[in-house]
């Protein structure tokens, strides 16, 4: 089965699934430790290229892909790590998204975890 619902994909002659709903998707497991940039295990990426992740500051990381994140068309996600740190992935500019992590008290903190992340860019 595909990650997309019926009608949202077609099967190519080589067996690969092709998105037909016009939505571009980036699905990844992001792992961040210490003061390193997040490392992505990419599960799906139909954006125009790979997202490059960099470290900014405590609990602040940037994902960059030029021209990929259209204003008012980009859907991101948020959650909580296994150790109770809140994280949010948000659109910053047309070229970047920001991943931030805070404690339950609201203070910036290194993510130090693996999270499930998804970005969708609608047509």
């Amino acid at each position: 089965m595909a990650a997309l619902a019926a009608g949202q994909y077609t099967v190519a002659t080589d067996g690969t699934h092709i998105a037909t709903d016009g939505v571009k998707r980036y699905v990844a497991l992001l792992t961040q430790t210490g003061t390193d940039a997040p490392v992505a295990t990419v599960l799906t990426n139909t954006l125009s290229g790979p997202i490059v992740w960099t470290y900014n500051d405590v609990g602040s990381y940037t994902g960059t892909l030029t021209g990929a994140f259209t204003a008012d068309k980009t859907l991101t996600c948020s959650g909580v790590t296994r150790t109770g740190r809140f994280w949010e992935l948000s659109r910053e500019t047309v070229n970047s998204v920001t991943l931030t992590a805070i404690t339950a008290g609201g203070d910036p903190v290194e993510l130090n975890a693996t999270i499930s992340a998804e970005i969708r860019v609608f047509p």
Partner: protein, 152 residues
């Protein structure tokens, strides 16, 4: 009419007809990775095991639940949850009874093994003391949305 001209006109009609009957090209054409999905609403009360309203299930079988202690629940399916291929998203509920409705409840998860995803529930105050970091509480799941994807 010239036979050659008739043949050319017929061929042209066939070509035009085929062009207009072809489905419109789609706007996205990049390959999409395949995954299996389990989408559900989780509810748990007292010391009972969680229950689920399953909205979609393309895993290899049914997920079985257990309660390992206060705020600790297992979602089990033998061999299903492949390391580095399992993607999970859980909604974060808002408790309207305390803190004036600010997000006070915390729902976490981890892939414990290929056989099990563990869901942990607690209150924010449980994190004030590092020693109680993993303290859990029951009764915090109420139709809480969860999506599990296992990619190939």
């Amino acid at each position: 009419m010239n036979k050659k001209l008739v043949v050319v006109l017929l061929a042209l009609c066939v070509v035009i007809s085929a062009a207009y009957s072809r489905p419109a090209p789609k706007s996205a054409s990049r390959p999409v990775a395949e995954s299996k999905r389990w989408v559900a609403l989780l509810t748990q009360s007292g010391t009972n095991v969680p229950t689920a309203v399953v909205l979609e299930n393309t895993l290899s079988g049914n997920v079985v639940f257990y309660r390992g202690g206060a705020g600790v629940y297992g979602l089990d399916l033998d061999g299903e949850f492949t390391e580095n291929k399992t993607w999970v998203m859980i909604g974060q509920p808002i408790d309207t009874d305390v803190n004036n409705g600010t997000p006070d409840l915390i729902v976490r998860w981890r892939v414990l093994s290929p056989n099990e995803i563990q869901v942990l529930t607690s209150r924010q105050e449980d994190f004030d003391n590092p020693l109680s970091l993993y303290n859990g509480r029951d009764g915090l799941l109420n139709n809480t949305p969860i999506e599990i994807r296992v990619y190939e």
